[in-house]
């Protein structure tokens, strides 16, 4: 279980659920960013990392992943509340995008200072813009992700199972949705399987609270305030390889660790995403 390396023959699937509710406009701790800006930047950074991992030789990226990003809260085109693909530009409206297409179609570039003294800044691609508005239809987001992941898994039975990563500042407002509550939607999603295991649902709660102590990959939700226990409950256990990866990122993941983070600041969110997407590439 959870042993299959990623290859062109058995590619992987990673879906991000990005909270775009109105509360994401709050400042993120002591940073200059809002929660929406910080979360979007972290997602763009991890997409860049996935492009780097797939760049094996010059001139092309290998098709190792299908990538989806769904925003939930305000929908960018209609301004109504709901769930919509968050890609923009050429990829606008697309649900699961082959990584080579992602690599070829950023919507803009952001400047990052050079690490070399006096060197010119780097221009790194971005694919998603921050947005906030309306409430938090998280159940619907998990339902939408589940539908796409279900179809994907049926076509990729020998692949590592899909990973769905939910980034939220908290309180779900559409519970229940179409007769099922949050737990049930999460269970439906994680019942989708390939031959290598069940789909993984990871959740990370980001908080505007300055100085709030964050934690990653706990084995228990004891002592956590709302919505910690609720999100912990629907988070999948971390596969062993990701537990090892967490430890190499200096995160002491214990046996029973879940793919869950609470009160994460921007650094913890980045670590969470790096661990949650660190899959073995076979370079096939």
């Amino acid at each position: 279980m959870y042993e299959q390396p990623i290859s062109r023959k058995n590619r992987g699937c990673i879906v991000f659920l990005l909270d775009r509710s109105d509360s994401m406009k709050q400042k993120w701790g002591a940073s200059e960013w809002t929660l929406a800006e910080g979360a979007t930047a972290a997602v763009n950074d991890i997409l860049f990392e996935l492009c780097l991992r797939s760049q094996v030789e010059p001139g092309k990226a290998r098709y190792y992943f299908d990538i989806g990003i769904f925003g939930y809260g305000i929908k960018p085109n209609s301004q109504e509340e709901g769930v919509a693909p968050a890609f923009d530009g050429v990829l606008a409206g697309q649900t699961l995008v082959p990584l080579p297409d992602l690599r070829s179609n950023p919507i803009a570039f952001r400047e990052v200072p050079s690490e070399d003294r006096g060197g010119p800044p780097s221009k790194l691609p971005i694919w998603v813009r921050p947005l906030h508005g309306r409430q938090t239809p998280m159940c619907q987001a998990i339902a939408v992700a589940g539908a796409h992941v279900y179809d994907w898994a049926a076509l990729h039975l020998n692949s590592f199972p899909p990973i769905v990563i939910n980034i939220t500042d908290g309180m779900v407002t559409d519970n229940p949705y179409q007769g099922a509550n949050l737990d049930q939607w999460a269970e439906r999603l994680t019942s989708i399987a390939t031959n290598d295991g069940n789909a993984l649902l990871f959740n990370i709660f980001i908080s505007p609270a300055t100085g709030a102590s964050g934690l990653l990959f706990p084995a228990s939700s004891a002592g956590l305030p709302y919505p910690g226990p609720e999100l912990f409950k629907i988070s999948s256990p971390l596969p062993e390889r990701m537990v090892t990866s967490a430890r190499t990122h200096n995160v002491p993941a214990q046996p029973g660790a879940r793919g869950f983070g609470f009160n994460a600041n921007s650094q913890l969110l980045v670590k969470f995403l790096e661990v949650g997407t660190r899959l073995d590439l076979s370079r096939d």
Binding site: S7, K9, F48, C51, L52, Q55, V56, E57, P58, G59, A61, R103, F109, S122, K123, L124, P125, R283, D284
Partner: protein, 263 residues
């Protein structure tokens, strides 16, 4: 004496032949022979360009004014490694792509290497000197007996992080520290085999298990048989699915007067 050198290669199952990331270069004149076998690392970036650069430079084939084949001693190799890293940076293809530039900056390229020079072919007692970084292995066989394994690796020594020749300057000291040297004498009839890690591991394990006729089998392989051997051992789970390269050397008393090529 003369050294007959034949190279065999099989790309990783599932990859295309143009994705083979090993390298082998050989050369010979009446007095000496030289060869290098390289294994481009799976995690490296633009590794074939690095393998090509190292292979050509080791043999003194490229056109750079400073490109003399390195002396196979510590100082000679240290100087050569630094020159290779400089040349890698100077010859990097111009690219406006942020992802490729970042990949190059962060990861670089790296490969294991086994280089060897045979001198004294015009005399009665030729010798070989070899230098190695990583798990590409040289086997010296005489009268069906294994004389030496260089580097001296056992069946349990093949991991996922061998020492490598790296493009990054920060790796120079480590490369120098882990560089290994060996030498030996040669006689007519001797065989040498240089193999990249998947095959080297298989050879070492087979030898440890006293597989009968191992050296004779390797000594008499034709290309089609090589491919069949690799496929069969992969199928049995006895050989890791990876690019495979074998360079076979046979020391003969004199250069043959005719060469028959079959297709």
């Amino acid at each position: 004496m003369h050294v007959q050198m034949v190279a065999f290669a099989a790309h990783k199952d599932g990859n295309g032949p143009d994705e083979w990331e090993d390298g082998v270069v050989t050369g010979q004149d009446p007095r000496r022979a030289r060869f290098i076998v390289l294994d481009g690392a799976t995690e490296a970036y633009d590794v074939r360009r690095w393998v090509d650069q190292l292979g050509g430079a080791f043999m003194g084939l490229d056109s750079s004014p400073s490109s003399r084949a390195p002396r196979l001693d510590q100082k000679g190799m240290n100087t050569w490694f630094a020159a290779m890293q400089d040349r890698w940076v100077a010859s990097a293809p111009a690219s406006g792509d942020a992802i490729e530039r970042e990949k190059l900056r962060r990861h670089g390229a790296f490969a294991t290497m086994l280089g060897c020079e045979i001198t004294g072919l015009d005399g009665p007692a030729p010798v070989w000197r070899a230098v190695a970084l990583g798990d590409t292995v040289l086997f010296h066989v005489r009268n069906d007996r294994l004389l030496s394994v260089f580097p001296n690796l056992g069946p349990g020594d093949f991991g996922s992080t061998p020492e490598v020749v790296h493009t990054k300057r920060a790796s120079l000291e480590r490369m120098s520290t882990h560089l290994a040297f060996e030498r030996g004498d040669l006689k007519a009839g001797d065989l040498m085999f240089a193999a990249t890690d998947a095959l080297a591991h298989w050879i070492i394990t087979s030898h440890a298990n006293r597989q009968p006729g191992l050296w004779r089998k390797l000594a008499t392989l034709w290309p089609a048989e090589f491919i069949e051997l690799i496929a069969a051992e992969r199928q049995l789970g006895q050989m890791v699915n990876d690019d495979v390269t074998l360079l076979r050397l046979r020391v003969v008393a004199q250069r043959p007067s005719a060469v028959l090529i079959c297709r």
